[in-house]
């Protein structure tokens, strides 16, 4: 039964990874920015929620605050870091180092304010009950699955129905085309960052409720997001979400054989296997160079 328990735990984690990774993939697809500070968005949202909780705010208010913080940080990164670098034609490395630097700053500022080590909120939602013999599930499990499915559906509908969503997809396909039609790619980038960042907030909140988060969790989130984007196939939202789910399950199922410290190794192995055998990812077009 431990296997089923781990599988379900993996699904819960995977649903949250899927959301985070879809946010990363959305930003990368639409703006071609490898937003490695996405992990910092996650950390920030999680700590804002914990702070609101500890201050005695209503949880719904805490959720809103976390989402607002995520969006604000995403937009700030776009306006203050990526856009200026883009203006002087900075390459991939320039963007990467700058975003990585900001992530380090966020991680350590949080460490100074909130202290190092794990922090979480004690919610009754995270209390597991025995639903079947030897199988424990907390309400958070269902919340995670429902939140992931709902947000992903909402995103899909937005991208296929709303004019701005359609424009975002067009931006992902061909930025020049969009400019030719007089759409502002600047505004759309901001939208992409806002949407992509807000997807990280629920994942951060639910993680804070269950396993807890620490100031360095952003590195792990960064790795998962990049790995899921690559495994899913660069440019595919669906692929990134599915790959996020896969990585969550892999990290959990590996515990059947190994201790917890190897969970991260499982993600790395999945990533490496894909780089070796299927570099275009699950849904990616062949990498044209």
């Amino acid at each position: 039964m431990i296997e089923l328990q781990l599988l379900l735990g993996g699904l819960q984690n995977g649903a949250l990874y899927a959301l985070t990774a879809a946010g990363f993939a959305l930003i990368f697809g639409a703006t071609k920015v490898f937003h490695v500070a996405h992990g910092a968005t996650f950390t920030l949202a999680g700590y804002v929620f914990i702070g609101a909780w500890n201050a005695g705010w209503h949880p719904a208010l805490g959720v809103l605050a976390a989402m607002a913080a995520a969006v604000a940080f995403g937009i700030a990164m776009e306006r203050l870091v990526y856009r200026p670098i883009g203006r002087h034609e900075g390459g991939f490395f320039t963007v990467f180092v700058a975003a990585f630097g900001v992530s380090i700053v966020v991680q350590n500022v949080i460490a100074m304010i909130a202290g190092r080590g794990f922090a979480n909120v004690d919610s009754p939602l995270a209390t597991a009950t025995e639903v079947m013999p030897d199988l424990f599930l907390a309400p958070v499990f269902w919340i995670s699955i429902v939140a992931a499915v709902a947000m992903f559906l909402a995103l899909t509908i937005f991208l296929s129905r709303h004019p701005a969503g359609v424009a975002l997809r067009a931006l992902a396909q061909n930025a020049d085309l969009l400019r030719a039609y007089g759409l502002s790619s600047g505004k759309l980038s901001v939208l992409a960052f806002a949407l992509g960042s807000v997807l990280a907030a629920p994942a951060a909140i639910l993680t804070a409720m269950t396993s807890g988060i620490n100031e360095a969790i952003g590195n792990h989130v960064m790795l998962i997001s990049m790995a899921a984007t690559i495994v899913g196939g660069v440019g595919s939202l669906r692929g990134a979400a599915l790959a996020g789910l896969l990585l969550g399950v892999a990290e959990s199922v590996v515990l059947v054989f190994l201790d917890t410290q190897w969970a991260e190794g499982a993600s790395f192995m999945v990533l490496f296997a894909f780089i070796l055998f299927r570099p275009s990812g699950m849904f990616g077009a062949a990498v044209a160079r």
Partner: protein, 247 residues
């Protein structure tokens, strides 16, 4: 007249769109073949399929009778196919001389084979190529600091120095003024006289008519016509496609 490079039935689609459908071409040694056609006809894709930058869905290509399909770009290059890119892809932060020298040094290992004698020979080749392309005067400038025409000629100098016998040139003369264009045409004529098989993607019909021995007209991934320049250009149907009066 020997055929340097041929390809048959090259095909490639991108996400359901047939960009190239069954293109066959022969490039005879010592001749200039112009590849013309409207934008999006699949001209550059054909180059990419030949050089291995893109994998073909179907088709064959051979160089002097040896199949080259499935080889990696660097292997095709070593077999004797040199190409230029529409966006040039110069080594921006290297000097002009280093750009051209790099074309004479195929090995990716720590050193080149052949020792000092070979090194001197390579340097001489590079100097000759720069001289021929008319950029010897800016040999120590960095590629990024060059003027537009000089960049174009640097791209040509790299190809000259590579000493290949098949050249695939992607819009090498676009944006050149008249005197530069004449210089460029002389460069190509000299190479043709030495037996190089040249394939040229070009939109400027003056350049095409001045240089081409043959024309292949490409539209929507297919070769619509192939033959003498005069005959192709007189065909009203092709002219309609080319000048955008397609019904």
């Amino acid at each position: 007249m020997s055929i340097a490079l041929t390809c048959q039935g090259l095909a490639r689609s991108f996400g359901g769109v047939q960009a190239v459908k069954g293109v066959s071409l022969s490039l005879p040694a010592g001749q200039v073949t112009a590849l013309v056609g409207p934008n999006g006809a699949g001209k550059t894709t054909v180059f990419n399929l030949i050089t291995g930058n893109l994998r073909a869905d179907a088709g064959q290509a051979s160089l002097h009778g040896k199949p080259i399909m499935g080889l990696k770009p660097w292997q095709v290059a070593r077999a004797g196919v040199a190409r230029s890119f529409q966006d040039l892809r110069l080594f921006q932060h290297m000097t002009v001389r280093d750009n051209v020298l790099a074309a004479t040094e195929p090995s990716g290992w720590f050193w080149q084979p052949g020792g000092a004698a070979s090194r001197a020979a390579r340097l001489a080749r590079a100097e000759a190529a720069m001289e021929a392309a008319g950029i010897a005067g800016v040999a120590d400038a960095r590629a990024v600091d060059l003027a537009y025409a000089e960049r174009k000629f640097l791209s040509m100098a790299r190809i000259l120095a590579a000493e290949a016998n098949v050249w695939l040139l992607d819009e090498p003369a676009s944006g050149l003024d008249l005197s530069s264009r004449t210089r460029f045409q002389d460069l190509l004529k000299a190479a043709r006289a030495q037996g190089v098989a040249i394939c040229l993607i070009e939109h400027n019909l003056d350049v095409v008519m001045a240089l081409a021995d043959r024309i292949a007209f490409l539209d929507r991934g297919e070769v619509l016509a192939e033959g003498e320049p005069q005959a192709i250009m007189r065909d009203p149907k092709l002219a309609a496609i080319y000048f955008g009066d397609r019904k």
